[in-house]
Amino acid sequence: MNIELFLQYVVAGITYGTIYGIVAIGFNIIYNTTGIINFAQGEFVMLGGMAAVTFSRFLPLPAAILVAVLVTTAIGALIEILFIRWLHRPSVLRMIVITIGLSILIREVALHIWGESVRALPYFTGTSVTSFRLGGVYISPQVLWVVGISTVVVASLGGFFRYTLLGMQMRACAANRDAARLCGISAKNMVTFSFMLSAAIGALGGCIVSPITYVQYDSGVPLAIKGFTVAILGGLGNSLASAGAGMLLGILEAFSISLLPAAYKDAISVAILLVILFARPSGLFGSTEVTRLKEF
């Protein structure tokens, strides 16, 4: 393999890795405030992408994306209020099964609205063949959009949690729910916010990658499982680490295609997930002691 091909794989890996990182951040936001893994996280990405394609028919692209993100955010809030808010100390098994049920439901609704066809937003700048050369590597401008917007999202998310009152309230809930409630923070509202935030980020991710990866009603599940792999790889609850872990998985996956048939691509990232779960469930950057105390 020459160096140019190598770099080309790296670029492809980074593109896919970014979206995995975005999904993982969605997992982390909800996990931090509730301690549950939302198995329907991939469906938010799918909904964002599909809704944006529909809205882009009668709205300019930026407006369509904005509306799609808002709609998905509203759906995220609705799901939390209808299915999760009023449960009293649900067990982990119960939450797993409920979110799995939700993911099926969202997928089936999407199937009945949009059918089985594969859709994509237009490229934000240029077309699918537009590319520029950088050090012997061809890069599509969409890759820059994906990486750029994701960087902005990660950075502003960091700022949001550190400097805004709402962000600090959410962190307080994550750190100690009862203590946060004693300080007058509505823990229930924070959970709703976390679902909205995570739905919004997922939907935005779905919009920015849809020109490259396409979206259809069932593209949520593979994204969810890879996002989860990345979340574990980075250490559950650690958003910044998941961005890095996303790149790692994306690049590993890109190179796996050069060694094995592309049909096995998904099997490989899942196999990586299993290896991490078995060998180091605290993730690459996490501490084993902390993980042992957490309840999964």
């Binding site: 797993i96 799995i100 499982i225 048939p261």
Partner: protein, 355 residues
């Protein structure tokens, strides 16, 4: 023990009554879907013992079903006559190969269904044994994701491998001669016999599982479900019991996979899809989690309705909705074992929950 014998006899009577009803009303083709329901019920019962009794979730049981079904289908359809070579001669000398005519008048040399079935089930058991160790160390989300991951790997491999037909799956799988005169086959002339064969398997499985639940193992499983650490402290080797039950439940799925594949005459990748695993889980949940009889009845009912196409294009959605509703409003499962007591309590006038 006597109560259990009565329940089994009662169920056998129901099975026979359904067949008679189908015969009398002139709808014998309903028996085909009921036979398929029986094989799916085997998977669901195996999952019931794992998830309901031992409290270990699995969203990958369709994977074991597919391993059983696909291996048996591959071995009984793959033509060895063109290959020759020492391995084929050794297999032939062992007497596990069989010749049968193919559709075009030629002759196929394949593995006989019996050794194929045994090999398929043993492989599934070996895989369950190998992955069960590390998987069952995990709890909660991690266990769910790991089993889901296993299911996805099987699905992807099946879908991406040319040898097993990729998206088409394997077809023209021959009948499975269980005993002289009894074969698992989808021929309409053998429909009634196959109906009884399939439900016979279910009843056998049921007797095995009911006894397992009442044994030392069953009590150990219940204690693991209640509080694993406490069980461990009491001296119960929790890891060993969990692994054992995982293997048993995988074996149930694999046997069901083999039999249904020979019954249908083929298997496709959708049998290993995540949705199938979720569906099995939904049936266990609605059946009352730790309730073998409830699970069996729900499996019979829901699989039959689904296979007859009563849910139309909302087939998957129905199972999703069932899962959500059960977990929201009756997380202990719908047909709980203590439900009857509660109802009795209501009639006796004390509104307290009898649990």
């Amino acid at each position: 023990m006597r109560k259990q014998g009565l329940q089994i006899a009662g169920f056998a009577a129901v099975v026979a009554a359904i067949q008679l009803m189908a015969h009398v009303t002139g709808n014998p083709y309903h028996l085909t879907q009921l036979t398929m329901s029986a094989y799916y019920s085997l998977v669901v019962l195996g999952l019931c013992i794992l998830t309901g009794y031992a409290g270990q979730i699995s969203i990958g049981h369709a994977g074991f079903f597919a391993i059983g079904g696909y291996l048996s289908a591959l071995l009984t359809t793959y033509n060895l006559s063109a290959h020759g070579g020492p391995i084929v001669s050794v297999l032939a000398a062992m007497g596990i190969l069989t010749r049968r005519p193919d559709l075009y008048g030629g002759e196929l040399l394949t593995v006989h269904p019996w050794p194929a079935c045994i090999f398929a089930v043993l492989t599934a058991v070996a895989i369950a044994y190998a992955i069960g160790g590390p998987v069952l160390k995990l709890k909660g989300h991690y266990l769910a994701m790991a089993t889901l991951g296993f299911g996805i790997i099987v699905y992807r491999i099946v879908l991406g491998t040319e040898l097993v037909g990729s998206a088409d799956g394997i077809y023209d799988v021959p009948a499975f001669p269980l005993l002289p005169g009894i074969a698992v086959s989808g021929k309409s002339s053998l429909r009634v016999m196959n109906y009884y064969v399939a439900w016979g398997f279910v009843i056998l499985g049921m007797v095995f599982l009911l006894n397992l639940v009442r044994s030392r193992v069953g009590r150990a499983l219940a204690s693991i479900h209640g509080a694993e650490d406490a069980a461990e402290a009491m001296g119960i080797p929790t890891a060993r019991y969990k692994l054992k039950i995982f293997v048993v439940s995988a074996a149930f799925a694999a046997v069901a996979g083999v039999l249904l594949t020979h019954y249908n005459g083929g298997i496709g990748p959708s049998e290993s899809s995540v949705m199938k695993s979720v569906r099995y889980l939904a049936i266990v949940a609605i059946g009352g989690m730790a309730n073998l009889w409830g699970t069996l009845l729900m499996s019979l009912l829901l699989n039959y309705l689904s296979l007859r196409g009563y849910f139309g294009t909302y087939d998957d959605a129905v199972f999703g909705v069932i899962l959500i509703l059960i977990m929201l409003f009756a997380p202990g499962g719908l047909l709980r074992r203590d439900l009857l007591e509660e109802v009795k309590g209501v009639f006796r006038g004390n509104g307290e929950k009898a649990s």
